[in-house]
């Protein structure tokens, strides 16, 4: 157990916590933030993705020790932004959601991409999604949604 100071969804917090605990477990079990999902627990699927300092990270692989001094944003926190609204609407319009289990992670991947590259090409999108598995959609409609979000959200990123 040790004390760490960090930011979660815009709020500074200090937690007295087992430093080896996975960020994913902390978020889901201690904060009741169920948006990040566990699909594999091994860093393969991206269902547990969150943003750490604007960069996508698989929370199942991040020990609490590593979040000290950093800013973590989950889908719940990101959902309060205008950028989220743009991405969410594009996902709806393009039919990019099926079972939805991968979807919060896909939204996080989109935000991480557009933050670094607001007007991505198709191949940049594919690279950005390489850590997020989707078994339902075959990815095309997700790629279209990201393209549409980038277009509609010009100037937001």
């Amino acid at each position: 157990m040790a004390k760490i100071e960090w930011m979660l969804n815009g709020t500074p917090i200090s937690s007295d916590i087992d430093l080896s605990m996975r960020l994913l477990d902390y978020l889901r079990d201690h904060q009741h933030l169920k948006g990040p999902k566990e699909g594999c627990g091994e860093g393969e699927c991206g269902a547990c993705a969150v943003l750490i300092d604007h960069q996508i990270a698989n929370s199942c692989l991040v020990p609490m020790a590593n979040v000290a001094g950093h800013e973590v944003v989950t889908i719940e926190g990101f959902a309060k932004t205008k950028r989220y609204q743009i991405i969410a609407q594009a996902f709806i319009d393009c039919g990019a959601v099926q079972c939805g289990f991968c979807t919060p992670g896909m939204i996080i991947a989109t935000e991480s991409l557009l933050h670094h590259q607001p007007q991505p090409t198709i191949s940049e999108i594919k690279v950005a999604l390489s850590g997020n598995l989707c078994r339902c959609t075959g990815y095309n409609m997700i790629i279209e949604a990201i393209t549409l979000a980038a277009k509609r959200g010009r100037g937001e990123w």
Binding site: G35, P36, I75, R135, G138, I143
Partner: protein
């Protein structure tokens, strides 16, 4: 009458918002006060006798649940009842669940699991396909008799491997007692399968078991029969500890222990006359059930009935066997036997043509089924078949001819392949009429709000959106006036399982009929019920496998283009085009979603997804070893739909979900054949296989 857009015009998916925001509750997102966790101890032996069980002394609040806690029958109710809830004294596959450890703290549970000692006496495991538990046979017209007069006989054997459903959400369930009612919430496809299984395991009366669906994070058949096993085990645990218990699989457990697609070996033989025509086919389908037969007989029959694929062949002799082995049980997976068969027949037709020195495409086209032809089981294709036009469309969109010509003549390791296929909609044979007997209800409240009461599960295919749209459209009310909650067996009748591409056509057909009656009902607050009746012209003889195996068929054409790296044998998929006849799309965007996702799985089955066992041990442990497509693996996909309304489907809709998977593997295998100029008889076509074929293979 108000202006109504065409039913197929896309609308937003009703549950998209909650799924995007992370608010939709999947099973692992649900917690209950006082809830405990369960974890499974699994067999490490493919075949063994349990000689002794040593259980440690348990800390307060922890329990071990095994076969001794089963009050009813130690069998999971499925079609073939050989599936034990917990083994008594014999384990039959690696990964077989032996017991559950239940308690509050996951670390303590792990410690207990590690302290348990099971002493086995090793028994000889069987991995050869020799123990046939189910054997079927049927003939068409003169069966194999024309072989006696054949000018030439061509034969090839085709093999297909395991495929893992790889839903991104692993299996999971929560059980609890609500007063004295056993309640299970789960990631499931078939609420009533689970309910009936638990009833039998507990030996309780009907009212005392309730099953509720949580949001399902993908299923693809993997949550058809398998969750019944988890539910039975969990129910025992709940009785013992009298607290809610949650059981969530880790990815590795899910991969090693849950049901997969049946590996198959399909031997095809054609009798050819002096002009090069096919006089008859002789087909044998062998599938590996693993240690549990379960649904395998039904999988086998679907495969056998699909023996001629999208073609009409006059004489047929088709046999099949389900083999029991000491490997992981296989079961339902989108396509249900058809993907294996479609690969075999599509390759075989191509290979026959090539062996005869004929142009494969023209040769195949000549056999494509036409309206009023007899099906493989001597039923009739009653409805119009649009395949000729669909094939032309697919060729035009993909520029098939131009590319094929170029790739055949140049040695640039590029190829394009085209598959023709069909899929029977609904349960095979008399299943709908005699076993399922689907029942649906619509209830209109005094406020005018209409509830759709069916047991169909939305596992991503969009059935909640489609059904609400259907009813809203028919009653000409806004969609938010129509409610369709996640099914709960205490509230909805048994409309059957969410499988077999039956939901829109069969259940949706009943819902549409009920909506029509509701529309004419003068009273506002009223409930309407509809029950399935087989159209009288559809006749099926189960014992002889003769007649109309399905009330209707959906049809498809896939074109896949590839490039192969001659140095590594790596395949890249360059493009994919599909043309489908699904009767009528209830929502074109959702059908496209199915088309993209199904084709991705079908293509990957053909070249990417490798799963093998060694002495009964699955060699792939996680999503790093078992590769499914990423965004980078998938090409742009174009899909075109042909309307061909089916009289009994709502607005003419037929099945969609499985159709989109069955053509992918043969299309890519043919494309790879063209690229490497070698004959392929086995999937997945891995880079190693390609390198081997390029060195030693036949043209």
């Amino acid at each position: 009458m108000k202006f109504q857009p065409d039913i197929g015009t896309p609308i937003p998916r009703v549950d998209a918002k909650e799924k995007i925001s992370g608010a939709a509750a999947y099973i692992n997102d649900i917690d209950m006060p006082g809830m405990l966790y369960a974890k499974t101890l699994r067999s490490k032996m493919a075949h063994g006798k349990i000689i002794k069980r040593h259980y440690p002394t348990l800390p307060e609040g922890y329990a071990i649940i095994d076969y001794r806690h089963i009050p009813g029958t130690n069998i999971v109710k499925a079609i073939y009842e050989d599936w034990q809830i917990f083994p008594v004294d014999e384990v039959r596959y690696i990964g077989e669940p032996i017991l559950l450890v239940v308690g509050e703290n996951k670390d303590v549970i792990i410690d207990i699991l590690e302290a348990i000692e099971i002493t086995y006496e090793e028994m000889e495991p069987q991995f050869e396909w020799i123990d046939s538990v189910i054997h079927y046979h049927y003939e068409k017209k003169h069966g194999s008799r024309p072989f006696a007069d054949a000018n030439r006989i061509i034969e090839h054997t085709y093999e297909t491997g395991y495929q893992e459903q790889a839903y991104i959400e692993p299996q999971g369930m929560i059980g609890y007692l609500d007063q004295d009612k056993m309640t299970l919430i789960g990631s499931i496809q078939c609420p009533y399968y689970v309910k009936n299984a638990v009833l039998m395991a507990l030996g309780w009366e009907n009212e005392r078991v309730r099953v509720i669906q949580a949001h399902v994070g993908g299923a693809f058949g993997g949550k058809e029969e398998y969750p019944s096993l988890i539910a039975c085990q969990l129910a025992m645990a709940v009785i013992q500890v009298n607290k809610p218990v949650k059981l969530i699989f880790e990815r590795e457990e899910d991969i090693i222990a849950s049901t997969k697609r049946h590996p198959a070996q399909i031997a095809m033989k054609a009798a050819i006359d002096s002009e090069g025509h096919i006089m008859a086919l002789k087909v044998h389908v062998g599938i590996d059930a693993g240690a549990v037969i379960g649904l395998s007989g039904v999988v086998l029959s679907r495969a056998m009935i699909a023996a001629t694929g999208a073609y009409t062949i006059e004489n047929l002799d088709v046999t099949g066997d389900v083999y029991r082995t000491h490997s992981v049980p296989t079961g339902a997976f989108r396509g249900f036997g058809a993907p294996q068969m479609m690969f075999a027949i599509e390759m075989f037709m191509e290979h026959i043509a090539r062996n005869l020195g004929k142009e494969p495409l023209a040769y195949r086209m000549a056999y494509v089924a036409k309206q009023y032809d007899l099906t493989a089981t001597s039923g009739t294709f009653r409805d119009p078949i649009l395949m000729q036009k669909m094939i032309e469309e697919a060729m035009k969109r993909s520029r098939y001819e131009e590319k094929a010509l170029q790739y055949q003549n140049l040695h640039r390791y590029q190829g394009i392949g085209m598959s023709f296929f069909l899929h029977g909609c609904g349960f095979t044979g008399s299943g709908e009429a005699t076993t399922i007997k689907a029942k649906v209800r619509l209830r209109r409240e005094a406020s005018g709000v209409v509830h759709i009461l069916i047991a169909a599960v939305d596992m991503g295919q969009g059935v909640r959106t489609a059904m609400r749209k259907l009813v809203a459209h028919m009653l000409e009310v806004p969609i938010d006036q129509v409610i369709y909650d996640l099914p709960d067996t205490d509230c909805v009748p048994d409309s059957g399982p969410t499988v077999a591409s039956r939901t829109m056509m069969i259940v949706g057909g009943l819902v549409a009929r009920a909506a029509q009656r509701l529309g004419m009902e003068p009273q506002i607050a009223v409930e309407i019920e509809e029950t399935y009746h087989q159209p009288s012209e559809i006749q099926w003889d189960e014992a002889r496998m003769q007649g109309d195996a399905y009330p209707a068929y959906s049809w498809g054409v896939n074109v896949v283009e590839v490039a192969v790296d001659p140095v590594t044998g790596e395949v890249s998929v360059v493009g994919a085009w599909s043309v489908y006849d699904v009767g009528k799309a209830i929502d074109t965007l959702m059908v496209r979603g199915q088309a993209d996702g199904g084709l991705a799985q079908g293509i990957a089955y053909g070249y990417l997804e490798v799963m093998r066992h060694h002495q009964g041990k699955i060699q792939q442990r996680n999503l790093t070893d078992y590769i499914i497509p990423t965004a980078a693996d998938m090409p742009p996909m174009e899909t075109y739909l042909f309307d061909n309304p089916y009289a009994y489907g709502p607005y003419g809709a037929k099945g969609v979900g499985e159709l989109t998977l069955v053509g992918g593997a043969p299309a890519i295998a043919k494309a790879i054949e063209m690229a490497i100029k070698r004959q392929i008889t086995k999937i997945p076509v891995t880079p190693e296989m390609i390198m081997e074929l390029m060195t030693h293979g036949e043209d």
